[in-house]
Symmetry: C2
Subunit: 128 residues, 2 copies
């Protein structure tokens, strides 16, 4: 029985569920969405289930909601997500860094995304 429950604990529990991660992905990709729009992405799930997940996300602070008419528009709160997870991510950064750079390189040779030079040596793979 865990008594204490740090901020980070809540976030990791939230992220443990694939549905909630997908909701976050959708909000990150498409911007603010209503409950109905989100729910339509989960055909094998009932609407109230999505609502419950949204409540969890909201309780964790990673999303916020505003009314628009009779619908509730949910929005990602990236700062809360970052604030809660960066300490952990930073702890293992030496392990991500290599893999992340490779991903960046892949994305770069495909098309020119935002000019985002890595802090390390930027091996400039032909910018198209």
């Amino acid at each position: 029985m865990q008594v204490i429950s740090s901020n980070s604990d809540v976030l990791f529990r939230i992220l443990a569920d694939p549905t909630r991660r997908l909701i976050l992905d959708l909000l990150a990709e498409r911007g603010p969405l209503s409950v109905g729009q989100l729910a339509s992405e989960f055909p094998d799930l009932v609407a109230s289930g999505i609502s419950k997940h949204l409540m969890s996300l909201r309780a964790g602070g990673v999303v916020s909601a505003t009314r628009r008419g009779r619908q509730q528009i949910y929005q990602l709160e990236p700062d809360v997500l970052a604030a809660g997870l960066t300490p952990w991510i930073a702890k293992y950064e030496q392990y991500w860094s290599a893999a992340l750079e490779r991903l960046r390189d892949l994305a770069q040779e495909g098309r020119v995304k935002d000019e985002q030079t890595s802090r390390k040596n930027v091996r400039r793979k032909r910018a198209k």
Copy 2:
């Protein structure tokens, strides 16, 4: 009922438990450790509980074990961890990057709090 269970799903579930995250932290900080050494870090937990957590971690591939005498030495497998999580981390990288840089700067100008946080002296780059 989730039928499919991607690699990433397993990792997020593993990380959902604070005890398991702490085990990973210990292995990352101190290197390979025996079950007893790990268990001694959890006074309010029975040894077999730790063993079960280690089995989960092992099943997920994030740690590996080798015998030495009668003790089992557990070791972090950073590549598996990185391979499973970097895709997700990369998706939200724009949100981490600023926070990570700030952490790096803090570690750099203050004293070094952790060997991992400052492993690379890098010049700060402006984050948008």
